[in-house]
Symmetry: D3
């Protein structure tokens, strides 16, 4: 066979329905696939609404700011409706996806003032906790943790409102950009900070109190998961740690299973913790060998 | 000197051949440099062929899918030929780079059905192994590990076919996006999964069996490397671990040197292993100090 | 309220000055915000000047290279002036930001030959130290550590010249792309190499000698920081480690506080070090428990 | 008033519903406006289907051409459905615009082979009629008249199928590009050629036979139009000329009213004709005055 | 000389200041050149403000329209200030170009409601006068004459406010797109219509009353111009025709010199007029010769 | 048949080789089609070289202008070589297209200084001849005739050097933009000006002396062309007018056939001339009928 025939034969094999059926996807007629580009735009719009003057055109003017927020909110509403509908059609067989998408998008927008208030506590805690930070502005403008936490807070809200798939894509976008992997299902209190951040993993059922600080490489993971009768993991089990208020965990430590790290506890770096830690405790790695 | 003169003088110094010669590159006349943008498109095309309906236009229709796969394969063939030639000209003095590039691109395309079969096992293993995953679709569409493993399987195939440089660029693209660094020279079996993934490193001579699972931050690295008479590391030595079937390694552990982790062994998180581990063993970090 | 009224009400709340004032930014009239896209272009231009033939058009010709370097330097000068001014206006109340920006941009350009010389030592050390690397070309073209170190060396120079904010954005760009987080304030000698790199953190006051090598996941961090009378961390304290010449630190280890790792010391992986290590010492993790 | 207040006041006036209501448009909720960019893409796709190998990727291969045509036709079908729906919603109150749009798009596609056959006669006539043309290829690739006639034939087909607005936009696109203004309602036979073309106008009810040739600046216009009782022109009156087969009209002549130019007549340049011309006649301008 | 030397020599000649000096331009340091792309955006923004709902996002909503107009006006103000400054610096040696540009841009914006009112009369006249037009919407959305007249009315306003160069670029943009060349200095009343339009030329000092209609190819030009003592045309002489109210001029006629076409006169096609025409007259070409 | 089947059947018909073969093009393997986008870039580069400071970055600096011209010339050389090769492969069966393309591109570049000198005379004549023009800068920056003449002078040079197809595309680009259609084969002297320009046509074998001025709508065309034994026009016959020095032709006149308009003759508007006109003559249209 010459090159052209070889390729034609490969196309024939690759187009064989039997070979690709479990790996293919049939989106509901007339609906779009979720789009990472549009979701990036949604996050960008949301950030420009929440933090006026940091993203997009620089001039903030008391007379005109309301026009900008108005247009951004309307644009956000339209894009969000489209993507929520894309997510619903990707994952479910819902009857009236558009009506549901409109309803959810509207609710999401009414929650924006609350999201702004929560993020304000994160920004403040990050500024106070980092001797290298120079201003709120620097924190908002260029700290990767703020990007990751913003995406998480947006995604968590959407998940609570019943949107499938989209929340996960939004947190994965931040994961790719910052190396911080927060599952949208996690519950996280106010004043949350992550220093540096690369390698942080926060699992689906983790619960984090107020004023908690994590360093890079910290995992809040699952220890093991019970299997069902078919040998598959049972979905939805509570399997990640609970961190009470004021906990600090240093870099590269791994906290595993449905354990509780008590209020104010401090966990040193590079250790593996799979048992409860009492409030106020400090634990560190055993001494290295010289 | 005024500003204009200062800049002119800097240009003069920077244009001095002696100063830049070891840091400059002279691509063979008439050939392009490898292009990350084109390689991104190559990976995107390959994914749209392997997983119909997930990437690009959403509508999959039994009557028309073959047109889409046909056009994508032809486009892939052209872009791949161009980039393989770019890689050959970057790294070698080969006589007829175009003929060789065409030959390799043709072979690569005949291997696509096999790559699809292997990736299907990775997708299935990932879905089964993660209680948080909702469907095959979610895994294919947004799990970073599938992106990293896809790039690795494409890059490994190209490396086996004798392409220089390009395979490494393809795995580095996934490294940048996912934080997972798999050298294209590594050998990896079916049903391979990586959870979360940020910080995973898999070295050039590592060998991984079937149904192996790694967590974030795991290194399969080299312990040390013998130097040649000039004090430079000898290239090509087998220096990375062998993981037999069904091995699990938890987060942030470091496995170093040409050691063997036996079938079904489980390595806990945050530890450093530089000696063989027998089949079925379980090893964990020594208790932290409270 | 119907959907349109709900959204109008949300816009009203979000436009309330009281709610957003601490989270908003008022850039000085007539100046731009710093732009990640322009800074990416600045880094790309700088790399094309420092490493002729690797980036941009492939043909290097002794007769015409000076035109390319000339145009690139002039373009760099203009973009840099604009971004330095954006940084000055973001962070300070300086009177004549344009004059200062021109002055700094001019000085930066006179330092480019020195930056090239330093990066040459980093490239050489990386090539020699990695058995998997095939050529200087491969190192320059696709090693993420070279990207991170280039951005650091550019950013450090700008910081030394008194530019606010911009240096941090430049190193965060590399952080996002490579997972390597080097604070622009750190001091780093020649021949510096980072293998794989994801998760590496190098703090603001760290000092690194010549020919030092780090592996992925290594942290050079601060142990704790003294608080001022208001309970806020005192900024500017020397709080990160000093690494003397020829130190090697293996993957995922955490070095904390203003300690000194003596010349030639080797620190194994996955350990936490918070005390001085004498020259030539080797320290490793205590044995895992089987 | 300062500048900011002046602008705020202008915004208030411009947002006054009374001032803009007759100049504003309310597209049906959830539908797009017609898009010149998408219509450009539709024309481009149609041309790549009708003239394989001239537009888009150059390689035509007997084995693979069907994939390209298949993908292009499917893409055309989707974009056309969207734009037909946009046109229906812009101009009408139709109940089920999507169903009608799908029906029309499907019919349009079945007519593509006929459109190709007609355009083939236009290409051939143009090649034969112009001593400066070198090949069919040159005619198809760069003669503006072929662009204008292609757009007309596409637009005329859509108009016949009952699509509002879109046909006019398609011919206006060619008008802008070529200076040739053919109303989509005109009826034009085979083998039609226009030389140079700038300034040609062909009105809504004109009828043109086979093998007609026009030069630049020729108008086939209406002489006057009867008004209704309100003094407005009555729409739909037959008011433009009929050109029988083999007519030639030289540059800048104006043919006005529902007159007939008989078979084989030749009309010289720069004249104004508002009465029937018998078959085979030749008429020219009266001699200029020296 | 080999090819590289030949090119180097050509560069040397082309860089010779003596050869290029009269053909080169030195824009004032720190200011931009006028930009056709930005001016296109300015025209697009202005049209979206004047005709809400036709350009940009389709949804017009009484609650949110004011946000859109607000943001568009603010954006217009910024872009216009920049381009007016560019025009001032291109053509003059003005001391404080920014202050003047801000002043002019502010005035222009206060005139937008008047421009909208005038264009409304043009749209209405066009709709009424063309039996082929279906609605105001079709006229606004796709008639080239409306595009040309809009650009003229914007450009004329800027010229009146003292802006150099920019008005001419704006009318040339419409000239290129529609083939209608209206000098921004011309004076044109309400209810102005141009049918088809390609080839229309309206000179700098032409004066056009209300409800005038021109067809394609009509020239309102200058007959000859007196020379100054150096044999150069004296600039600024009144040299183009005056058209009183209700005049109609058919296609391709040329009206030359400072003559007056009286109220209600009708000029037939393809004729050359260089003397006054009394009110109510009708003149046509002498009969062609058969 | 349902919609999907109907479309599949249309694809089958459209993919039938017999139906499309005379309308399809098979570009030589491995070569690109000519690209209007690349040719636009070639014209833009050429203009930025010929008129420094008008196009691209504004700052002209005696020290750095040579870098910009150097880079632009080198870029022009590469793009031109590619497009000349594309033209050669589109139209001919030449053996070594690349070698010929390189040779032609090199020669073209050596002619750039001459092209600049000729265009300088056109700019000067345009400025002097138009009372509305304010400066050389305005003429170069925004007069459409200068764009059309520039494209013609570039295209004519390429045609003289033996390049097929590409010259015609370049003049058609200007035709589309300006409505001025100059065949690249025409011969045009120095100091050539076209006022307004829309509708001007200059045929393949026209010869124009120095200091000639044309107004909009002027045609220099062919009267009729002898047919060969097959009834096809004989290609290459001298069939367009000769205009001697200092001729002026007013708007919309048509000059037809291989006639000579003598030195200094003035032709009025809207007339048709198909016989020689002696030097110094003035001819105008016969009086219109009132």
């Amino acid at each position: 066979m010459n090159s052209s025939e070889v390729i034609t034969e490969a196309i024939r094999q690759l187009s064989d329905y039997k070979q690709f059926k479990t790996l293919s996807h049939q989106q509901k007629e007339g609906t779009l696939l979720p789009s990472v580009d549009v979701l990036e735009e949604i996050v960008r719009l949301t950030r420009s609404i929440l933090f006026p003057g940091y993203f997009g055109r620089s001039a903030i003017d008391r007379h005109t700011i309301k026009y900008h927020i108005g247009v951004s909110v309307e644009e956000l509403y339209h894009l969000l409706t489209e993507q929520i509908m894309a997510g619903l059609c990707f994952s479910t067989d819902i009857e009236e996806p558009k009506a549901k998408a409109i309803d959810i998008a509207t609710q999401f927008i009414t929650h924006l003032p609350c999201i702004r208030e929560r993020l304000a506590t994160d920004v403040e805690a990050t500024y106070i906790g980092d001797p290298a930070s120079k201003s709120f502005g620097e924190v908002i403008f260029c700290y990767p943790a703020i990007r990751a936490i913003s995406n998480y807070r947006i995604a968590h809200e959407l998940l609570e409102l019943g949107v499938p798939l989209i929340p996960r894509i939004i947190t994965e976008m931040a994961h790719s950009e910052t190396g911080i992997d927060i599952h949208p299902g996690a519950t996280i209190g106010n004043g949350f900070t992550i220093d540096h951040g690369t390698g942080v993993v926060i699992g689906e059922t983790a619960i984090i109190g107020n004023n908690v600080k994590l360093y890079q490489g910290v995992t809040l993971g699952a220890k093991s998961f019970p299997l069902d009768e078919n040998g598959k993991p049972i979905k939805g089990i509570l399997r990640h740690p609970i961190l009470e208020d004021d906990v600090i965990i240093y870099s590269n430590s791994t906290i595993l299973g449905r354990i509780t790290i008590g209020k104010g506890a401090i966990i040193g770096g590079n250790i593996w913790v799979d048992q409860d830690v009492p409030p106020g405790a400090r634990i560190v790695q055993s001494r290295p060998k010289k």
